[in-house]
């Protein structure tokens, strides 16, 4: 029953994303454009670009992930489907997880996939690209999960979008530090095992705690 509710909701959200492709493409091109603007802004010295590239890509991914977040629950809230979700026998946390997974698949996974290409564009070595790709793969789901708490808390609040970013971005700092830090570490020839372990730890914590927090916030928002 719970598993059925999870898969049904995931399928529904993926189908909706397919029908509203503009939302997904906006996030994707925002990410690509922000990263491409840096060489124009800081100048074309390849040493400088090479050293800042992982950080630039990480920050751009972080900002791009904020773009679609306020829509995570807002449309369900507006048309009444959120009410129905709250009344299903399945635990609300599981349904939140389904929505977050759908959001990650359509909004964040394309960023992770194009990131290596942008890395090569900024002339970073394949070894660093590989580590950066792994850290993005481990880190972006955590961003989505943290974002879900913020999206639930700001639901129905006027001007919720900017407020959401103010709430969530500080929470993302540890993920950013260890995500971007791993790439710098490998560039300096250090071991990145610790960074990857910490990112995995963050992901597991968020996976367990964020749905519970978001579910509680949603119940309050609909009261």
């Amino acid at each position: 029953m719970t598993a059925t509710a999870f898969w049904t909701l995931l399928k529904r959200d993926l189908l909706l994303a397919l029908r509203r492709r503009a939302d997904v493409l906006t996030t994707f091109f925002f990410f690509v454009i922000v990263v491409s603007l840096f060489p124009l802004g800081v100048g074309p010295e390849s040493d400088l670009l090479r050293s800042i590239a992982p950080g630039v890509i990480w920050v751009a991914a972080l900002l791009a992930s904020m773009l679609g977040l306020n829509r995570l629950f807002a449309s369900d809230f507006a048309d009444g489907t959120l009410e129905q979700m709250l009344l299903t026998p399945a635990p609300l946390g599981v349904l939140v997880l389904a929505k977050v997974l759908a959001h990650w698949l359509v909004a964040e996974l394309p960023l992770v996939m194009v990131a290596p290409l942008l890395g090569l564009q900024l002339d970073i070595s394949t070894e660093v690209v590989k580590v950066m790709w792994v850290t993005l793969l481990l880190g972006t789901p955590t961003l989505s999960l943290l974002g879900a708490i913020g999206a639930a808390l700001t639901l129905g609040v006027r001007g919720g979008g900017p407020l959401l970013s103010l709430l969530v971005l500080p929470l993302c700092v540890p993920v950013l530090i260890f995500g971007a830090g791993a790439a710098s570490a490998v560039a300096a020839g250090q071991d990145v095992q610790a960074h990857l372990s910490l990112l995995t730890g963050f992901l597991l914590c968020a996976l367990v705690l964020a749905p519970v927090g978001a579910a509680a916030a949603l119940r309050i928002a609909l009261d």
Partner: protein, 208 residues
């Protein structure tokens, strides 16, 4: 089946009602009445568990609904003011991708065709009229026969005469089958031959 005892509700800063007690038994339809703003929708949301009462208890088959949320949710079907339809999905997708309970797509199409909504199949829900959307939302009732408690907020709004009669018959049929229906409506609709219990919120409102 459903017992309400000493219920009080505050929305914003205002007390809507207090000391509201009633019970609805198997096979009964309860019609919540009261003027606009008397708290009909708030009462229904309290009963479903979407919001929390200031005081009082709600029991379903003798169990507190908040303590036994999951158990209660299996028995409940709620249709609010909002139709809970996705604009970018077709009616049959809306019904078959409802996380509440999965129905196959073919069953949904068949159901819609049987209710005079055949022309809406394959169209995006956003292009449907208010009445058609309401009827698609109400089509969920056909898949909810096994849920004994129906809570319907203004189910007759925006419906044409034929659809109103259909819905009244569905509600009466559910009550005859041993279900419990709570509804609000400003229209006076005859609900077949089942006992209709009127619950007035005017009597328990602090302002008379």
């Amino acid at each position: 089946m459903l017992e309400v005892e000493g219920l009080a509700c505050i929305r914003g800063e205002r007390l809507l009602f207090r000391d509201l007690s009633f019970r609805v038994d198997r096979g009964q339809v309860a019609w919540i009445t009261g003027p606009n703003g008397s708290g009909k929708t708030s009462l229904l949301r309290l009963l479903c568990g979407l919001s929390q009462p200031e005081a009082g208890a709600i029991r379903w088959q003798g169990q507190d609904t908040r303590a036994e949320r999951e158990y209660f949710a299996r028995d409940l079907l709620y249709l609010g003011h909002l139709n809970a339809l996705k604009d970018d999905l077709t009616p049959e997708e809306n019904l078959s991708l409802d996380p509440l309970g999965s129905v196959s797509r073919d069953a949904a199409v068949e159901m819609l065709s049987g209710r005079g909504l055949k022309r809406t199949v394959g169209l995006m829900s956003r292009v449907l009229s208010q009445g058609q959307k309401r009827r698609v939302a109400l089509a969920r009732l056909a898949f909810a026969q096994m849920r004994p408690l129906w809570i319907l907020d203004e189910p007759f709004a925006a419906l044409d005469a034929v659809a109103v009669d259909d819905l009244a018959a569905t509600v009466a049929g559910h009550a005859r089958g041993g279900g419990v229906v709570l509804l609000t409506s400003h229209q006076d609709v005859a609900i077949g031959d089942v006992p209709v219990k009127r619950v007035s919120l005017t009597a328990v409102s602090p302002i008379r």
